[in-house]
């Protein structure tokens, strides 16, 4: 027996059982960064810090590369992986643009309806 599955909405991943399972270790690592001591350890030696968690090789590479699109695809949930962005500050709109594969300025204008800044 399984619960009914909602009809998919195009380009809109819902963070359900599959995503939660796929991304669990990645999100767990990201969640750990709410501790200042862990943020320091991450900043001091990122590779060693990631060794503490059972990330897949793809997840590990995505974190090291700050590949936001990849992190989401590999089960990362935005609310957790945002904590990685706190370490090298990056606006959430830039993370959004990266997921869509758009230039940040184009994303602000075309998706969010802001005025273009550079002519």
């Amino acid at each position: 027996m399984s619960a009914r599955k909602p009809a998919p909405i195009p380009d809109t991943p819902l963070f359900d059982r599959a995503g939660s399972h796929r991304g669990y270790e990645l999100n767990k690592m990201a969640m750990s960064l709410v501790s200042a001591a862990n943020r320091e350890a991450f900043a001091a030696d990122e590779e060693a810090y990631l060794d503490r968690y059972k990330l897949s090789p793809e997840q590990r590479a995505a974190v090291l590369a700050r590949d936001w699109q990849g992190m989401i695809r590999l089960g990362g949930n935005i609310f957790y992986i945002l904590k990685i962005s706190a370490l090298d500050p990056m606006p959430v709109t830039a993370i959004g643009a990266a997921q869509v594969g758009m230039d940040h300025e184009d994303f602000l204008v075309e998706r969010l309806g802001k005025e273009r800044r550079n002519g």
Binding site: P6, P13, K28, I72, A86, I95, G96, A97, L112
Partner: protein
């Protein structure tokens, strides 16, 4: 019995808090947004509530994915500010209305809602930002709070119908409370935003404005929607709007929309606010 003085809906976008921390309220990007809340601050200062019941979602701060309560209720005397990864924000901790919270816990369980009951828990921007928007930055908050946490992060999230029924139960709990406190209910979250996937940055200004116009006079329309309709219309994270239905379900069938405000985008989100009063309450005030 306690008195329900009104229902407020508001966005709780984290960048609003950051803008306040950095003193950006008067910059061109933010001034129209914050100016729209001036009447809301005036309204709540006049109304002088004693207790704010705030329905919101934790954003992966107090709860990780190891345990995800569909509903949780704070019953603490004090709530500290949580570190979301950027350090703790410098705003005052919250005082809890613990007596009313325990009364609500009884009412919820007797009414077949079964929340996780939280004696010690820290609070994130989901509750901080609405409080700052309505009360500014006081030395100490002028109201005690009752936080109701709703899971909107991991599916399955609760249904809109269930949120409405929780609001109806909340109303009965307010009316069966022997105290004489003045209570305001906040539904928070939304409006349109999608932070994940190739549809990230989805904006639906028309739907946002319709929501603000209709949540007072025509809420049944949204109560009867599916969760998927919320996601499709307001974006994957915009489905947080189901939490406004708790607030709306707590109010009378007939309400007056005292004010509303819309600004988009705040960061990646359509930001909106509404203040509702029960028609009876509004009439008494006028008399």
């Amino acid at each position: 019995m306690a008195e329900l003085i009104g229902g407020c809906g508001t966005s709780h976008v984290p960048s609003i808090g950051i803008a306040l921390d950095r003193g950006l309220q008067d910059t061109p990007d933010w001034k129209p947004f914050f100016d729209g809340y001036i009447p809301a601050k005036e309204w709540i200062a006049e109304q002088k509530p004693d207790i704010a019941v705030v329905i919101f979602n934790d954003h992966g701060n107090a709860f990780f994915l190891d345990r995800v309560p569909t509903l949780a209720l704070g019953v603490a005397e004090d709530y500290q500010i949580i570190d979301e990864g950027w350090g703790k924000r410098d705003i005052p901790p919250f005082k809890g209305a613990a007596d009313f919270s325990w009364h609500l816990a009884d009412a919820m369980v007797e009414g077949h809602f079964d929340p996780l009951i939280c004696r010690e828990i820290e609070l994130d921007h989901g509750i901080q930002v609405p409080m700052e928007l309505f009360f500014g930055r006081p030395e100490a908050w002028p109201v005690k709070i009752v936080p109701i946490f709703v899971n909107t992060v991991q599916y399955p999230i609760p249904t809109p119908q269930r949120m409405w029924e929780l609001g109806q139960l909340l109303r009965r709990a307010i009316e069966s409370w022997p105290g004489d406190e003045r209570i305001v209910v906040f539904g928070t979250g939304g409006l349109t935003h999608q932070l994940q996937g190739a549809r990230a940055g989805f904006m639906n200004r028309d739907a946002d404005k319709a929501w603000l116009a209709e949540i007072g006079p025509n809420p049944e329309k949204y109560r009867d929607w599916t969760r998927e309709q919320f996601v499709e219309t307001f974006g994957s994270e915009g489905a947080e709007l189901i939490m406004w239905l708790v607030m709306r379900g707590a109010m009378d069938a007939d309400v007056r929309t005292v004010m509303s405000h819309y600004y988009a985008p705040a960061s990646m989100t359509g930001a909106g606010m509404v203040v509702l009063e029960n028609e009876v309450h509004a009439t008494e005030e006028a008399a």
